[in-house]
Point group: C2
């Protein structure tokens, strides 16, 4: 039986992925043995998987996780962008050093196995690896020049994973996820949190704060698409990546204004009226440094797909998550 | 008086830089106090600077170096590409972790100073941060997708230095040096060593091995240009970098055949006859993954300059280094 380890399995995307794997398995692996690892888990989270609690940055934790020789590892754990910007030490510790310790644990297990153990590692990177000035659409050969600590830490983790993969210790790839929208649950410390908040809160009868101009353009995909990216990556033959193991994923480019128009079409003006504008200079500054649109030709040719309208993204939220919320 | 620290000051470029600084100083700093740090120094190296011996990867060494509050730090120390490829642990330890410990030592000194200590840090990166397939000329927005451990370690060091600089702990920039040619002295473990060897050895009456096809195209600059790049970088206002603190430097693109033609023009057929072809699959494979030509528009606009012909590069070697060799 295949073993799957989801590091960061208590987070929103980790839970979506776990639920999907419990239902559908992985391509060619119908009933995997699933372990979720995280610092904490939500009270009403998925059941049917093994839960382990711990902190990846502590000595020995990576080696302990790897000792069970998981075949597929999804590494989703991170300090989010806003917190990595305010807590410099914590961001580098969790977002970079933990990746290093994890890869060293894999290399050790590979060596101990006589070279037979080469797990598949799917790492969730981010479009925060890019920094402006940007072309109208970012193509697959555009430089990574991050303008946040979070982006730098993700870019570094990609480079480590690529080199450990090139050497044959693991078989890894990095997925530069669009901003995930609409995130269910509560706002988090990510500077991008409002992109979900302005849809989620009004649909749940609550006020939402819009901290930026409505002309801000951004790059989105739903939680359902995120889980789909991860499953597709796990089944992908990485020889097709030809040594470039970080991928810009498909998504939807739209403005905040277009997000609000979609919300109006689906839920009406009364719901839209719950959005209050209150500009936040810190968030405006961070978001200004983020990409707005992509031409993700490689990922599309490799079979990754996402939503094609923001209406679809809202409908996905309503179908999958709205009923779960206790308003 | 300004303090200058050259980490890797015992190496070839470090010695060239030290000699230049002892003669000319830095822009605006005519007689700096110069400290060279390295694991070892050449027997007939520069005099007039303080020499310190040590290993940057040992605990406390970075902090000790930083405790003297150098104003300008040139960080040139590295495990070269060939050795980083065969000794994975050593390469990551010296080329990545030492950079991390050094930056953390600077951050600590910055905090201890109440924020007033913000040293200028000039880091020698490499065109090995790039990996194929390449466009005809690599421009300033081309992605970093290294295909060697050395290249990954250099790319990661750039990202760290950029983020520590963005946060104001240091004022850093990374120079992606062309392959330095003609290197004086002996061959080293860099896979690029032969680009110098096929010029240097014949000029010194010795046989040289050419391990690749003569059609191989590569990107070169002389040791004199390398020292010039470093001095220019130390005097550069990094606000002009607009947040992109890694620069592709100017150089000369030519084939091995063109190198040999220049040698024939300058030194004659008898000297060229000392080059023996003996293909090495490992070196061929590594060199195939390297860039061949650049359009370094940003660096040129910032005032960096290099040779415009391989004849000039050979003449620089003859003028500066040939007489120093005991053939």
């Amino acid at each position: 039986m295949s073993r799957v380890l989801i590091i960061g399995g208590g987070g929103m995307v980790g839970q979506k992925l776990a639920a999907r794997l419990l239902n559908e398995g992985l391509p060619g692996h119908s009933e995997p043995d699933i372990t979720l690892f995280d610092v904490a888990f939500p009270p009403n989270g998925v059941v049917g998987a093994t839960h382990k609690t711990g902190n990846l940055s502590r000595p020995g934790v990576a080696r302990d996780l790897v000792s069970e020789r998981p075949d597929f590892i999804f590494h989703l754990a991170a300090i989010v962008s806003g917190e990595a910007e305010t807590d410099f030490t914590k961001g580098w510790d969790i977002n970079m050093m933990s990746m290093w310790h994890l890869l060293e644990a894999f290399r050790n297990a590979h060596d101990t196995s006589g070279g037979s153990y080469v797990p598949k590692v799917v790492f969730t990177s981010s479009i925060a690896v890019f920094g402006g000035p940007f072309p109208d659409k970012i193509d697959d050969e555009f430089l990574s020049a991050p303008q946040t600590s979070y982006g730098a830490q993700k870019a570094i983790s990609e480079l480590m994973l690529s080199d450990f993969s090139r050497k044959g210790f693991v078989d890894g790839l990095s997925l530069r996820l669009p901003t995930i929208c609409v995130r269910p649950g509560k706002a988090n410390l990510a500077a991008s949190s409002f992109f979900s908040g302005i849809i989620r809160e009004p649909l749940n009868g609550k006020e939402a704060i819009l901290p930026v101009e409505s002309s801000v353009r951004h790059w989105h995909a739903s939680p359902r698409s995120a889980a789909g990216f991860l499953v597709h990556a796990a089944g992908l033959d990485t020889a097709r990546l030809e040594g470039r193991r970080a991928l810009n994923l498909p998504g939807l480019s739209c403005t905040v204004e277009e997000q609000i128009e979609a919300l109006r079409r689906i839920a009406g003006q009364g719901v839209v009226d719950r959005i209050k504008v209150k500009h936040d200079p810190d968030i405006i500054r961070i978001v200004q440094g983020w990409p707005r649109d992509f031409d993700p030709a490689r990922a599309v040719s490799l079979g990754f797909s996402a939503e094609s309208s923001f209406d679809d993204i809202i409908q996905t939220y309503i179908a999958e998550d709205l009923s779960n919320v206790s308003a």
